[in-house]
Symmetry: C2
Subunit: 146 residues, 2 copies
């Protein structure tokens, strides 16, 4: 339910083959809401009898990640998950209850990074910022019925 330039479009623009399995995986991803794991997609595929090989799902995820159509996030518990997203620098706010995520663009991090660089002597190259909390929907639901 995002109107991100569809993964298929990104694939095409990058000159990759628009194969049936890739379309299927892209489809599975776009009908997901929050973050998901490779295993989730494998299950989804089996449920809908899409007949996509396990290895293919991993390969597709890897490729989509390279093309920045999808991003990998690390959950607080150490699990890896993926999120469909836009190909520009941003971070994710992740609901620890329902897994829904939102992108945040202006991260205010350049300033922090500069400051840290000055104090530690490191030449900062990149950063990862993930915020965890409760999304508006879950907050509402929680206050409604306990």
């Amino acid at each position: 339910m995002t109107d991100i330039p569809t993964i298929v479009t990104v694939l095409d623009r990058a000159g990759y083959r628009l194969t049936e399995p890739r379309r299927k995986v892209a489809g599975l991803i776009s009908r997901r809401d929050g973050h998901f794991s490779a295993a989730d997609l494998v299950d989804d595929a089996r449920e809908r009898r899409l007949d996509v090989g396990r290895a293919t799902i991993f390969r597709a995820l890897e490729l989509f990640t390279e093309l920045n159509a999808v991003e990998r996030v690390d959950l607080p518990n150490g699990d890896h998950a993926y999120v469909e997203c836009e190909p520009v620098h941003h971070h994710h706010v992740i609901c620890s209850q329902c897994a829904r995520t939102t992108e945040v663009e202006a991260c205010g991090m350049p300033a922090v990074a500069r400051d840290v660089g000055r104090r530690t002597g490191f030449k900062i190259q990149s950063h990862r910022l993930e915020l965890f909390g409760i999304c508006p929907e879950c907050q509402a639901a929680n206050s409604r019925h306990g």
Copy 2:
């Protein structure tokens, strides 16, 4: 080479048994410099013929992490690693060349988190921030010989 309250001390204060295997693992950790994985410790132990079971190393790491004597970080490539560190909120600056890490305390994040919360409606509970770059030592080494 940190003078963090030794892991053994932390263990003791928290009321856990000071077993020989735990001492050994703590020893291995403290003589490490940058981040390390469970597998690294397993190798170290084997090399120095310390005779500590694999499972025990995992268990020790888990416990030390719970006690905040050690923290888990996620490398950009998706690998998991650990770093010995102080039990207060802070973040790590990680050298992508030599794995050395430094802790940063004032992270300036509360402001960012508040802002993000306001814009997204999320109730922010926690955040993870990791900075990657080149440490001063590596910068010096690099400029010296290429």
